[in-house]
Symmetry: C2
Subunit: 314 residues, 2 copies
Amino acid sequence: MLSFFDDRVFREASHLNGFSGNVIERWSEARDEASFGSALASADAAIYLFLEDRALLRAEGGLLAPRFTLKAAEALGLERDTLILLGVTGEGPRFAGLVRAEIGRPETIKAIDLRSLAIQAVLETHDLAALAQARSYLHWHAGSRFCGRCGGPLHMLRGGIGRACAACGSEVFPRVDPVVIMLAVDGERCLLGRQPRFAPGMYSALAGFVEPGETLEEAVRREVKEEAGITVGRVAYHSSQAWPFPSSLMIGCHAEALSTKVERDAAELEDCRWFERGEVRLMLQGTHPQGLQVPPQMAIAHNLIAAFADWQSA
Amino acid sequence: MLSFFDDRVFREASHLNGFSGNVIERWSEARDEASFGSALASADAAIYLFLEDRALLRAEGGLLAPRFTLKAAEALGLERDTLILLGVTGEGPRFAGLVRAEIGRPETIKAIDLRSLAIQAVLETHDLAALAQARSYLHWHAGSRFCGRCGGPLHMLRGGIGRACAACGSEVFPRVDPVVIMLAVDGERCLLGRQPRFAPGMYSALAGFVEPGETLEEAVRREVKEEAGITVGRVAYHSSQAWPFPSSLMIGCHAEALSTKVERDAAELEDCRWFERGEVRLMLQGTHPQGLQVPPQMAIAHNLIAAFADWQSA
């Protein structure tokens, strides 16, 4: 008998996307203020450090090490009031914090943005995922200093799980902004666009923030219509990706085009057109004659596009 | 030849969920400050009104009418500085605004919460969806009076699409909080729990907010582990729902249980156990001998549970 789940060989597409594979147990609900102190006192506590939006890494014999002891973190300029508890792993508690910008640091300490780290795939999966979690939290805390409701100062709650206002009692929790990213498909063609900020020759799937009061599928149809003038019918979920720039949840879908005439939103896209499957394969392989390309393998757009390019009808 | 999309008869599960079917074109990117005024001056402009979190409706010959002219809205106590443009429909622009609490209103004007309106299904689908969009926006504007970054006052941007700070230049946009809601399945059984705040006898799927730095599937596994102690393997997306209380995006999944011993988080759930498919069918039909029930049809939990109960192996 078939199980309720599909009996095809199981490969979770979200695992293909960079920043997946986090092993930190957050236990956000179970925490209290005391667990922060006891976790920090633990001999196997480790801290992910950031200089603004870039991760600090220790260059050690050709490798990059992303975790620091409390003592090492303090020597590198840790701002103690930014320190948050990410959660616990089998190898001890994990923290994140910002370092002061003006402090001098040894040559062996590198500050690298997470996009580069993900593209170069130089870290272990679980460390890269933890850095993504850390960057989103640190960015949110840094931008959530005052209460939206009354304007009073916010203080940190339960080791950084949220922030609270002493004046009006409001509690706030980190934002995660859902974004739909979708590949519209018309038979043997898919729709790719390029934003002015893209690297030369780069084309990608269309994307946009989910707005209040719509389903994912409605958001997909709205965005493809707004950006490319294309009407979309069926929408099929493919995978999702945590995207820490600063804190999005990318939700990737394939979308069936019901119209074909592209009417590009010139404010958003500098080009947008249909690409035949053969051309897309060359872009994925890096062998396109005009050097056109798609985003790197760590990006959900790459995996959405590859799923279309590789698909074989039964 | 098969299309890239599955060739089963297409029924988008998200359409089953309450608040879907919005027909308002938001065109958020294309707006400027002037479009608000010209839309409001339009003869077919209509306003959805709220008294705090409840929609105002006009009882007319046994029906409830949810849209008001500007003149009618002002007579009912519209606070002009809360007025936002939701977007445009084929029948004209649509706005939303709050009315003052202290003003007297005729007996024929009812204030009803959106959950009741969705359960009773007394409105047209597109009006209910527009009310969901309106409530999320109005709630966000009301709670976003001050800049999180500098504490300065925020003002409305482009007819309510966001808010901006004159002091530091920050722009902020409405939050949509992604929530995973999942039905863990173990062969012929599914996992249901009840929160203390539920109506007597009500059981539902487990749910929780997606946190920064995780995929949807990772969030599903974390929540089921945290709330019920159950290990989950495969995760299958089912549907999504805009949930305007105040502004969530419910993302519904089925999840394959890899363990069976329930260890309930007593702070979250007052009961959590496996239910056989036969028992679930009685709950869905409203014929359970002990009167146990599942959420109403407008809720994504209902449709997740019904998809499991109705599923037939091939």
